[in-house]
């Protein structure tokens, strides 16, 4: 039982409640693009070949902020690149669909696998 629920019930002197935690499952989790970006980030996966980072460099702090490394072309949102051509409001230039449908499917597939593994008792 969660500590705050336990404290509340004990303060109220209630013992007639049945406690159950409803946990989100992976399949219901929102497909936040940030989560996908983190999963793919080589600095999190430790894939130095992809990151182009040497461990010593990273530990000396030189690579931690990515300073001096050019942004990959794909990191520049197309909507920003086309900003000058837009006239529909100041923030209109930020409107974009940042991820392709296939990328969403990748995350959905990963979450489904995780959910299946939880259901099977492997996680």
């Amino acid at each position: 039982m969660r500590s705050d629920a336990e404290n509340l019930l004990s303060r109220l002197g209630q013992n007639k409640f049945r406690y159950q935690e409803f946990r989100d499952n992976f399949a219901d989790m929102e497909l936040w693009p940030l989560f996908e970006a983190l999963i793919r980030d080589p600095r999190i996966s430790g894939d130095t070949a992809v990151a182009g980072l040497d461990r010593d460099e990273a530990h000396s702090g030189a690579g931690s902020a990515g300073a001096g490394r050019p942004y990959p072309a794909s990191a520049v949102p197309q909507s920003v690149a086309k900003a000058d051509a837009r006239t529909d409001g100041l923030f209109g230039r930020y409107e974009t669909t940042p991820l392709a449908g296939s990328a969403h499917e990748d995350v959905r597939s990963l979450l489904r696998q995780l959910n299946d593994r939880v259901a099977a008792g492997e996680l």
Binding site: N7, F26, W32, D54, A58, S60, S64
Partner: protein, 248 residues
């Protein structure tokens, strides 16, 4: 060398709160503990019920009357840590991070250089995160080019968790999967933490039944266990070296 470094990649995550709670909890477990404020903000003392005008003795200062709260010694390491020869002194063992005393260091998020120097000598690095998008976005900066799941001495605490918020629930779920055993505790958002500082009291005194305090107890027990495990590992690693030196 019982140094525990509390450092987050982003400010406002509750790093000082976690450092203070760890120091107080480890002291209650019978450890000899010094809480080291290595930040310019000087905010660690607030979680010990001290007023803003109360200054902490310097780390390197010879102090006769120690400033202790609840058995925890309080020191400021800000000045010492920004001396040019700090890293060298640390390497040479001139700083008191040996022996039985547990030092819990609160390092500012922006002070990444200091955090790296200290982490090399630390028994444990405790990284506090919050279930917010901005906090998660900082994850790649913690151990660049090193997988977060690798067996390093970095552990994570999810602070200010409010499960009534959708993103927070999903972030907690995501972090549990991403970090696995490295996520050693989660602390629920609790206004009592803020109110205790406002009352110039420790959380344990102001709100002993608070949810955050109960969560903190779990964190303390986890950290104490990890430190004990690391100490045993260090002994095992040091034994062959000692035998070799003796033979030579």
């Amino acid at each position: 060398m019982p140094l525990i470094v509390c450092h987050s990649p982003k400010g406002g995550e509750g790093n000082s709160f976690v450092a203070a709670g760890l120091a107080q909890g480890l002291s209650l477990l019978g450890r000899d503990v010094v809480a080291l404020d290595m930040t310019a903000a000087d905010g660690l003392k607030s979680y010990f019920g001290l007023a803003p005008d109360q200054s902490l003795p310097d780390l390197e200062e010879e102090v006769i009357d120690q400033l202790t709260v609840g058995g925890v010694g309080l020191r400021s390491g800000w000045r010492a840590a920004h001396q040019p020869d700090f890293a060298e002194a640390l390497r040479a063992g001139d700083l008191p991070f040996d022996g039985e005393t547990v030092f819990v260091a609160d390092v500012a998020s922006t002070d990444t250089g200091l955090a790296q120097v200290l982490r090399r000598r630390a028994r444990l690095h405790v990284c506090t995160l919050t279930p917010t998008a901005m906090s998660l976005a900082q994850l790649p900066r913690i151990n660049p080019a090193r997988a977060l799941g690798e067996p390093e001495r970095t552990t994570f605490v999810l602070n200010q968790l409010d499960e009534t918020r959708r993103f927070a629930r999903h972030a907690a779920l995501f972090l549990r999967e991403l970090l696995g055993d490295k996520l050693i505790a989660q602390i629920h958002r609790d206004e009592a933490v803020n109110e205790a500082v406002g009352m110039l009291q420790t959380l344990a005194r102001y709100a002993p039944a608070s949810a955050a305090l109960a969560d903190m107890e779990r964190l303390v027990i986890a950290v104490d266990g990890l430190c004990a495990g690391e100490a045993a590992d260090e002994t095992v690693r040091a034994a062959p070296r000692a035998a070799k030196n003796e033979a030579a």
